[in-house]
Symmetry: C2
Subunit: 311 residues, 2 copies
């Protein structure tokens, strides 16, 4: 089993009400890889600049992440600058320097092309299509996107979405993509474009999964101290797809477990800047939070109504 | 078993993106009573004006609701005018005419005073205190409030909150009440003021219950067609407390069931203006939605992590 992920590897400069950091390691594919590596083998595709630290590549390698697909190009690494208000639900992008990412053409190493699971992180949908063309016969392909591509490359995005099994998207974005304010209806509409499974990310309110007529809700793990939500969505996807890939089966109960793992993994990312918390994370902590989340959502009894004593 | 509820009985004029209505029946105590009447005996306390239709009082009576505590006063019934945007999460109040409500001094009929369960709906906390003084030895007292009282009658509100077991409040309000942006921390802070149990209402995202260190999440029931959220919170409380009163026990698993019932009952209110949907609601429909909601939240397996095959 293995997951191929393609997406950004970046430097982030982030300001939240709780602190700020300059030029720390970030990027969707980076967060995804670290999260998924707790459960399965990960093969990373991306590009970094000459300024990218070798010791971070060593950290990835030490976690068993295959970085044969990471190329180093002349110039600077992709840089994102953003900030969050108190509710931490929405990032405000202050600046995006694509740098080496602007000429990125993903070219998968031969041993990546047999991967069972593929995550097309939030990048230009034309690059997502390029990657899809290079994968032989994946069992599960998932895609993430954002408002920027919904507005700017709608046709290419819809073409990519039509070819995937699963879409990760936040609630504002799915409303925009479907031109429909009701999220349930929006999900049904997007399912008709191709992906059988839609996961709508809802920030501090967790996430909801749609598959056919079935749904599954997971709350965000309750944290008393949140620090920086950057990468939470990609960590969610990493936990989700890493878990699913490791199980090797995709029954609805497996998807439910994956939702729990996604939410739990995201909760660790939020507790500190960059990957700091993921880097010291232990398997026991993951299991503990899964247990807490299940207890906080599972109502064991079937409801049987009785008539009131008088009416 | 019975629940005493005190609060507004009103006419509402509401505009939503899906339609509008003028002078329809509303009011927190009204929504609460109708919802709770599906599960237990309800004793209603409130005031109406000379313009209040007798046939609505007949509807309440037909549902077994005791209206001995509803007085008719000279003048007009309380009137609320509000509107909602597309997300339906927050009402914008355009006009509030207190009318007969401005001189309301609740005086409970003698046979109300033995009630096991009490719901102090969102009214002036000084009136909530007045009602508390008249109840002999309730097993469970719950209170709802809003930003208007948090700002305008903070001391009286805190006095009332100190005397109740359970607080219903929305997420913006608990942040305001506790002066704390983190909802988990805010709930812990408010628990210290008195109520052991806090239910934070989160609009389209459902609700979360805090009791001691334990939590329980329920999503909003997924609806493809929402119409008018007016009364959803009070319907939630009616389903919740009506169910709990009918069970006569308050273990944590009972609270979990009550959360499900609250969410399900609220979903019916949202499907139409005023009480239209509640008036035709059948017990089978309630059970059906409880089942759907449990399936959409219950992940049956315990998560056991395996190490990745190579690392």
């Amino acid at each position: 089993m293995s997951v191929v992920v393609v997406g950004s590897i970046a430097f982030d400069s982030v300001k939240t009400p709780f602190g700020q950091c300059e030029q720390v390691l970030g990027g969707a594919a980076n967060f995804f890889s670290l999260a998924a590596s707790f459960f399965t083998d990960v093969k990373l595709v991306g590009v970094v600049g000459e300024d990218f630290p070798q010791n971070h590549l060593d950290v990835l390698r030490a976690r068993g992440i295959d970085i044969a697909g990471v190329t180093r190009a002349p110039g600077k690494t992709f840089h994102w600058r953003g900030e969050y208000g108190f509710d931490l639900n929405e990032a405000k992008t202050l600046k995006t320097d694509l740098n080496v990412f602007s000429d990125f053409k993903p070219n998968l190493p031969v041993h990546y092309r047999d991967a069972e699971t593929v995550f097309l992180a939030n990048i230009d949908p034309e690059l997502q299509l390029l990657v899809l063309d290079q994968i032989k016969s994946p069992r599960l392909v998932a895609l993430d996107t954002m408002n920027f591509w919904i507005e700017g490359k709608n046709a290419a995005l819809k073409k990519a979405i039509a070819r995937v099994d699963m879409l990760f998207i936040n609630d504002a974005e799915i409303r925009q993509l479907a031109s429909e304010s009701n999220v349930v209806k929006a999900a049904r509409a997007i399912q008709k474009l191709g992906p059988k499974t839609i996961i709508v990310k809802r920030g501090e309110y967790g996430a909801v999964l749609f598959q056919g007529e079935r749904m599954f809700y997971v709350p965000a793990y309750p944290l008393e101290s949140l620090f920086d939500p950057t990468g939470a969505g990609d960590t969610f996807a990493g936990g989700f797809l890493g878990w699913l890939d490791s199980k090797g089966q995709h029954h609805f109960d497996d998807l439910k477990e994956a939702m729990t793992l996604g939410s739990v993994m995201a909760s660790f990312t939020i507790e500190d800047f960059s990957f700091k918390r993921l880097e010291v994370l232990q398997h026991e902590e993951i299991e503990e939070r899964c247990k807490t989340l299940q207890q906080a959502t599972h109502s064991p009894n079937t409801v049987h109504l009785r008539r009131p004593s008088s009416s």
